[in-house]
């Protein structure tokens, strides 16, 4: 199996990866973006983007499609929905194998593999996906018109989506594991003043129960240990994100949460390997900060190529 060589390979096709692809390709650096999911990453999951400077309001999908077209027009190759089956980052020439049958090498690699929604991790969770368990209010809200539902989580997404769901549903119980919310003040205020919303604090779901769809959930109060069975028509889960770094363990330095550690130039502990976007250890995760990371990583990669070839 002969390898195809690129100057730079970007792992991930979200806002950070696409930005890196745009900058690299425009600089005439032969670039390939390898994406294990859908191009656009978590940006695609965003219904409305209203705070991206220069764009009054657009959909996350629309924005991702423009970024993708920009990258392709500058000559960037993109492979999406593939599986990375081998990764060698430590050698001078980096090697990436996909789907067990295509091999690529590169002088430099930018890791921008982003994150994925965190799940509760209960065995019954996967069984009821789409059958009473949802991760997208805008997609599935209308299936729950007039119903009584639960939203799990205490961050901005959970509280904002709970308020959004009250357009359709009869009632929302917000179940949160702590005694206070992590969301911003405005989101908490909006949820608290909504008459359809009530709160079950310091509790978590231990099991989803139903025949063909979710009918009840078992809850446990984390403070008292008391258990409770709550009838429900559906559960929406918003409990944060996990970095897509399973395949990077032992290859690059990661934080205790699995995020890649970089310096301000997006350089990892491995020469020629950079990281950008939500996969990186940092405080703020926005499309704008991912775009910034992708820009810096691309410029650093260009500098690395020029100095090492």
């Amino acid at each position: 199996m002969s390898a195809i060589h690129y100057d730079a390979i970007v792992l991930g096709g979200g806002s950070a990866g696409l930005t890196a692809g745009i900058y690299l390709s425009r600089a005439k650096v032969k670039t390939l973006i390898i994406n294990e999911g859908t191009v656009g990453g978590q940006m695609v999951l965003t219904h409305a983007v209203a705070n991206y400077p220069g764009v009054k309001e657009t959909g996350g999908y629309q924005l991702s499609q423009i970024m993708k077209e920009q990258a392709k027009e500058f000559g960037c190759d993109i492979k999406s929905n593939v599986e990375i089956t081998k990764l060698d980052l430590k050698s001078h020439k980096k090697l990436i194998e996909i789907d067990d049958d295509e091999v690529f090498t590169a002088d430099t690699v930018i890791i921008a593999s982003g994150g994925k929604p965190r799940k509760l991790g209960l065995p019954s969770e996967d069984n009821f996906k789409g059958l009473g368990i949802s991760y997208c209010a805008t997609c599935d809200g209308d299936f729950y018109a007039g119903k009584d539902i639960i939203v799990v989580g205490g961050g901005n997404s959970a509280l904002e989506e709970a308020v959004s769901l009250t357009k359709w549903v009869n009632s929302v119980k917000i179940v949160h594991q702590f005694d206070n919310f992590q969301a911003h003040k405005h989101a908490i205020v909006e949820a608290e003043k909504n008459e359809k919303i009530s709160f079950i604090m310091e509790s978590e779901i231990t099991e989803f129960i139903g025949n063909e769809k979710v009918e009840v959930v078992n809850l446990v109060n984390k403070k008292t240990g008391e258990t409770e069975t709550v009838p429900t028509d559906g559960v929406f889960i918003y409990i944060g994100y996990l970095p897509n770094s399973e395949k990077l363990k032992g290859l690059v330095d990661l934080s205790e949460y699995g995020e890649i550690i970089t310096d301000e130039d997006m350089q990892t502990n491995i020469p020629g390997v950079f990281a950008a976007g939500d996969i990186r250890k940092k405080k703020y995760r926005q499309i704008t900060t991912a775009v910034s990371d992708g820009t810096i990583a691309a410029l650093s990669a260009i500098d690395y190529i020029q100095k090492n070839n």
């Binding site: 999911g37 859908t38 191009v39 656009g40 695609v44 999951l45 965003t46 219904h47 996350g60 999908y61 999406s80 929905n81 593939v82 599986e83 996906k129 789409g130 059958l131 009473g132 368990i133 949802s134 991760y135 997208c136 805008t138 997609c139 599935d140 299936f143 729950y144 063909e212 769809k213 559906g234």
Partner: protein, 116 residues
């Protein structure tokens, strides 16, 4: 009413019947242009070349004609988009609700739409 994908589209109940009757293996994703549906269309577009024995189609969920899938027996408890159906010799042999990964789609194609 058409979806903005690169898949072939089903636009009417009549066309739906023709598609499932004239193809041994058919996969249809019935959804909208939303966050849970787009990844499934993307997976299907990527698999079209590899699964030449399967006809891949989308069907706009909000089209009145899509009631054949919205009200299908296999989707009676579905509460998450997209509704994805697998047909063999005109019969629905599998249906899933909500987002599916490439691995999950391939498993269903390999299990339910095996080349005879």
């Amino acid at each position: 009413m058409l979806l903005g994908t690169n898949l072939k589209h089903i636009e009417s109940e009549e066309q739906f019947q023709e598609v499932i009757n004239n193809n041994e293996n058919v996969m249809i994703c019935c959804g909208r242009m939303g966050p849970m549906c787009l990844p499934v269309y993307d997976v299907m577009e990527g698999l079209e070349e590899k699964y030449e024995n399967v006809a891949f189609y989308d069907f706009a969920f909000d089209s009145p004609h899509a009631q054949v899938l919205r009200n299908h027996e296999l989707s009676r408890n579905f509460m998450g988009l997209p509704f994805t159906f697998y047909f063999k010799n005109g019969e629905a042999v599998k249906a899933t609700s909500s987002i599916q990964s490439k691995k999950q789609v391939k498993e269903n194609l390999d299990t339910f739409l095996v080349k005879e």
